[in-house]
């Protein structure tokens, strides 16, 4: 790997130039493997449908056409409202979720808390065992009367066991015990310690889990499928899922779908799939770079000493 050649700074605090170049080459190749498919998806989405049938997926379209987007965004008002709904659910959900998750993970990370393993188990157990779709649906629809409500889209994803346990681990490893002891000696209560000391130091962890939460809320189409019937409350992902399924149904119409209307002739089934992927990603693709600024090393420097 890297040798301690070169000047005294290299090899100790930085990797050698040679290694850097090698790594960059490898990373570039990997990056191309990740970017190329996305570009291809975009290119196919603006290709004329018949060209796709005849020539397959090509990076440079033989014939441009924005028809796929027109077909999906039949009514710009509907799409904008869906974006809005999704954004609302995502924001509210992620905010509440990160608060709940960090509050739950903190006690689990405190070694002095005797029941930490029990409560870890309580949350982990739900990752493996669950009652199934029907009982779960009954709780939301019949007991809580949350059918057609935004809360039905928010509550289920508030506490993911995996995120809780990852957060717990982050707390345990990046917050030195000595720091918390020091705070205690100074007379701080657990909650104060939590807010003033732990949270600021755990920024990378909170950024990570927030990012995952946002993505999970943004991408969900299953909850609206089950609970929402009011057209105005549908989220973006669900609308896209619906368009895709309609195309699928109409394209593979079995003998039961007797009256196939003229609409089928022009369904841009292949290009629209790709267009939907692009629309689905939309603004959320900027979420990652946004959170990147929190992935900064060295927040704990001086915390122990000071």
């Amino acid at each position: 790997m890297s040798k301690s050649k070169g000047n005294s700074k290299e090899g100790y605090l930085e990797i050698s130039r040679k290694s850097n170049i090698i790594f960059n080459i490898i990373l570039t190749i990997l990056a191309i493997m990740c970017i190329y498919p996305l570009i291809l998806v975009f290119m196919v989405s603006i290709t004329d449908e018949k060209m796709i049938s005849l020539y397959g997926y090509k990076l440079i379209p033989k014939k441009f056409s924005l028809y796929a987007y027109e077909y999906i965004i039949k009514d710009i008002g509907v799409v904008l409202r869906a974006y809005g709904t999704t954004a609302l659910v995502t924001l509210v959900g992620s905010l509440i979720s990160i608060v709940i998750i960090t509050m739950y993970a903190y006690p689990l990370s405190r070694k002095s808390f005797k029941y930490r393993n029990t409560f870890s188990f309580i949350v982990y157990f739900t990752m493996l065992f669950n009652g199934g779709l029907v009982p779960w649906y009954m709780v939301y629809a019949r007991f809580l009367h949350l059918k057609n409500s935004y809360w039905a889209l928010i509550i289920p994803a508030l506490l993911s066991p995996m995120y809780v346990l990852i957060m717990r681990t982050f707390f345990s490893t990046s917050i030195p015990d000595s720091l918390i002891e020091a705070a205690k000696i100074d007379g701080a209560g657990e909650f104060y310690t939590f807010c003033r000391i732990v949270i600021p130091l755990a920024k990378p962890a909170i950024a990570t889990i927030s990012l995952f939460n946002i993505l999970s809320y943004w991408n969900d189409w299953y909850l609206p499928l089950l609970f929402i019937t009011d057209e105005k409350k549908y989220t973006l992902q669900y609308l896209l899922y619906r368009v895709e399924k309609s195309i699928q149904y109409l394209s593979t119409s079995s003998q039961s779908a007797g009256n196939v209307s003229g609409a089928l002739a022009n369904i841009p089934s292949q290009s629209s799939r790709m267009a939907m992927a692009i629309i689905a990603i939309g603004p959320i693709i900027f979420a990652y770079p946004f959170f990147q600024k929190y992935f900064v090393q060295g927040l704990t420097i001086g915390a122990v000493k000071g």
């Binding site: 990997l30 009982p135 709780v139 490893t173 209560g189 990652y288 060295g298 927040l299």
Partner: protein
């Protein structure tokens, strides 16, 4: 250090003799705030997971709409039979476990290595760029991925076959030959998830105290030594936790990867059929709640036993980092 350790050990043994409810009260008084912090999470768990939990019992009932949950008849292990009945039971179990093991091994090597490399790159702007790019595959749904794979592997229009024939090599009907899928599946899975896993490890590394590295550098340690002696040991807890979490899901599979990407082409099923796809194929259009509950129970109970065992072993070796 040893003295206080012995002391706390003796304390614990003493407490065990008292009743557990009393213990709870003591602990509650001592750490009231911690308990209160747990409450919002517990409420969500209650509503979302524990209230419906009795549904697990549906696996043992012959659920009928008229009789509902309570009056439907018990039917023992009847609902489980179809999982083991056909000659496929061994294949799907083998595939499920094998792929999960491969995925676990890959996920604790490649993303870790990449995260470390990214952290060490000299040009921070480039590093950030790479990080973002690696994350992109996550955004593409399995449906889109299946079409991209199809564009590569399609028999008549696929890129791979076109390239092979240009080079004068034999073309293959990729969706008809199982053996290649043992490589295609892990490859596609790694491509999709590595960026996501990298984020977790990178966030961990950011939490490490830089003074460790500075001290090591002063002592004359090379970069390589710093990585192996500081970074990797510090990553141990998160790696262990993630592994334990994945181990618990050893009988579950990502449905999109195993059903949608192979485009449900029966010919390669021996390589791509896993428990989840088997259940889906078997119960499609069937309204049988009991049978699907049975499948879920089967996967859960096996995962539970495995993870408890793994957790137990972890506790013996490294008490701090166990799951529970």
């Amino acid at each position: 250090m040893a003295k206080s350790f012995n002391k706390s050990l003796a304390n614990e043994q003493q407490i065990k003799k008292q009743s557990s409810i009393k213990n709870f009260c003591i602990e509650f008084k001592k750490n009231k705030v911690l308990f209160f912090m747990l409450i919002p999470g517990l409420i969500v768990l209650l509503i979302n997971n524990y209230l419906p939990m009795p549904g697990v019992l549906l696996a043992f009932k012959d659920y009928n709409y008229k009789d509902g949950f309570f009056k439907s008849a018990w039917c023992g292990f009847e609902n489980f039979k179809y999982l083991f009945m056909s000659g496929k039971a061994w294949t799907i179990t083998r595939n499920t476990i094998m792929y999960n093991v491969i995925f676990i091994i890959i996920s604790i090597t490649i993303p870790v290595a990449l995260a470390i490399i990214l952290n060490e790159l000299r040009n921070r702007k480039l590093a950030k760029f790479y990080q973002s790019v690696f994350f992109l595959p996550y955004f593409l749904s399995w449906v889109v991925v299946s079409y991209l794979v199809f564009a590569l592997l399609s028999s008549d229009m696929g890129v791979v076959n076109a390239a092979l024939s240009k080079l004068g090599l034999k073309t293959h009907n990729w969706y008809a030959e199982p053996k290649y899928w043992y490589f295609i599946i892990p490859f596609v899975n790694t491509w999709k998830w590595t960026g996501y896993d990298i984020v977790v490890y990178l966030a961990s590394i950011c939490g490490f105290d830089k003074s460790y590295y500075e001290a090591a550098a002063v002592d004359g340690a090379t970069k390589f030594q710093q990585i192996t002696k500081i970074t990797i040991p510090l990553l141990k807890p998160i790696i262990i936790i993630l592994t334990l979490l994945k181990v618990g899901k050893i009988f579950y599979s990502d449905f999109g990867l195993f059903y949608i990407v192979p485009k449900n082409s029966g010919a390669i099923n021996s390589a791509t059929d896993v428990i989840d796809t088997y259940v889906y194929r078997g119960l499609r259009e069937s309204a049988d709640v009991g049978m699907s509950a049975a499948a879920g129970f089967y996967q859960a109970i096996v995962g539970f036993i495995v993870v408890c065992t793994a957790n137990y072993i972890t506790k013996k070796i490294d008490k701090e980092n166990a799951l529970f």
